[in-house]
């Protein structure tokens, strides 16, 4: 049986697929049989108990720690229908961490421009073809400036990270990831260290990116941003994403015949309401879903059946 439900989406529609991904460190099992198909243009929130392996899953997608079992496939215009198996880090996946996303020795603008620089030129090119490099540099510089304006940091272009507030740093980090136009952007608790007001600003910014996606789709274009956001804040998870996936080690693995805990897996996968930037934030609306997630994903007992709440694609096709 297809663990994600009966229907598969159209091939060109998918940005990332996780097929039976398992992971661990030494004898310690962390992830078990993680199956996920991420639609292009989707904003997926990933939640789960602390230490269940959310960051590990993102590291597997980034490619620095490829999975021990199963495979991750990334789909792009060039890769064709089969996609390419992720086995190393590459420029087609962007990442933003809670900390250490920016190079401390570069200003905001340089931090954004360094992506195109590393991507489009090599060390040798920059040393040997100085004239052409200077030309290119100017273009990249302008693109970085535009990107910083987009995240509302036009005034902070020449500040170093230590001169910026936490919220500004995360905006720069987003711009740094977005300028590469990656197939997917991964956010690992990006707003975890921010105060409430700043956090809301940034959630709002993500919503505006999602609106860009919707606009592109309406015009028949490819949506520009596909995103996985890991967060420990359930309201945030429901608010900024259109789909919520819960990873948890608390599932009924004994029933499947395992002698020891095999690791965390997907126990929850459902759509969440989509908000736009115009309506007020109203968390009352999803109290019921929040309680459900808390019970299924975060409560150790009683262990739930891992397929019961994994219904995203089934519900999609039922519509």
């Amino acid at each position: 049986m297809n663990p994600e439900g009966d229907a598969s989406p159209a091939a060109g529609d998918i940005a990332l697929e996780s097929r039976g991904v398992g992971h661990g460190f030494g004898a310690k099992a962390v992830l078990f049989d993680v199956n996920l198909k991420l639609r292009r243009g989707q904003f997926l929130s990933l939640v789960g108990p602390s230490g269940c392996g959310k960051s590990t899953f993102l590291r597997a997608i980034v490619g620095t720690h490829p999975p021990r079992a199963g495979e991750l496939r990334l789909f792009s215009a060039e890769s064709g229908d089969e996609g390419k198996v992720i086995d190393a880090p590459g420029r087609d996946r962007g990442i933003v961490y809670q900390q250490y996303s920016l190079f401390p020795f570069l200003t905001a603008r340089e931090n954004v421009a360094i992506g195109p620089m590393l991507d489009q030129t090599s060390l040798a090119f920059r040393c040997l073809r100085r004239l052409r490099w200077r030309q290119l540099r100017r273009e990249q510089w302008r693109a970085a400036g535009d990107m910083l304006e987009k995240v509302k940091l036009a005034d902070a272009m020449n500040l170093y990270p230590h001169e910026m507030s936490g919220g500004m740093r995360q905006r720069v980090a987003l711009a740094q990831a977005m300028i590469m136009k990656p197939e997917i952007i991964l956010l690992d608790e990006p707003f975890g260290a921010l105060d409430e007001a700043t956090r809301e600003d940034l959630q709002y910014m993500l919503l505006s990116l999602y609106e860009e996606n919707q606009k592109a789709v309406r015009q028949g274009n490819r949506p520009p941003y596909t995103l996985i956001i890991v967060t420990h804040e359930l309201n945030e998870a429901i608010y900024v994403g259109d789909r919520l996936v819960g990873l948890s080690q608390f599932w009924d693995w004994r029933k499947e015949g395992h002698a020891a805990a095999p690791g965390a897996t997907v126990v929850y996968d459902k759509p969440t309401p989509v908000f736009d930037t115009k309506t007020a934030r109203n968390f009352e609306r999803f109290t019921a879903q929040r309680e459900e997630i808390r019970r299924v994903v975060f409560e150790p007992a009683p262990p739930c059946d891992r397929h019961q709440h994994v219904v995203y694609w089934r519900e999609q096709t039922a519509r």
Binding site: T64, P89, F103, F105, G115, D119, L123, M180
Partner: protein, 267 residues
Amino acid sequence: MIRRPIKSSTAAFLGVLSVLLLLGGYTFLAHRQYQRNPDDTTIPRWSQLHKGLQSAIEVNRRSEDRWLVVDAVASGQRLFLGLAGGVAASLLLGLAMGCFTPIEAFLHPPLSLLAKVPPTAALAVFFVLVGTGNNMYVAMIAFGVLPTMTLTVNLAVKEFPDELLYKAYTLGASHMEVVWTIIFRQVLPRFIDAFRLSIGPAMVYLIAAEMVVGDVGFGYRIRLQSKLLNMSVVYPYLAILAAFGFGMDSLLRLLQRKLCPWYEPRR
């Protein structure tokens, strides 16, 4: 209150005051000594110091050279070559160790051992390996500062957060680019700090070695003149050494501020 900040003018005043007190105290001691025994050379007065310095600058009748010039050339050359070699090598080794774990596993044990060997004690080894003359001093200084400095650079590289490393790869960096464009720039200020801290030991090694086996150089001259109690020559030599060390340090600090405006250690 602990760590209460003061005005910069107050800080400058206190700094100048302490130097003036030092000079004043010396003047007083020298004067008292002169009154007790006008022929004394252990605490020379300023005029005697002036004469002593002059005798070091003028062509000496017996040796037919200018002491200060030949000493400065010899010691300066040894120090610069030794430091340059040691510092450059430790930058490369430290980077390589920090970036590539097998290299670290291979080099860490011997370097930690060598870091504990006083290079002046191993002078004979360098004499055997590279012969006498300048090479011996240069090798001694280079190998003297190398272990500690390499380990310092290695540590700085290892402190580079994994996240930033992954980040660089998602931006399309090659391995070489990660080392030179990213990691090197991040550890540069720490490297300059390590450089600054190694100037002191390098001077200690050099002066000590020159005192033992030198026939020219600051250490040699200071030992000779000290034996003769010619403090009017020894003190100016010490002052020059201090000024040189201080100058080098200031220069490197300036360089650090110019190259790494983002770096702000706790002042």
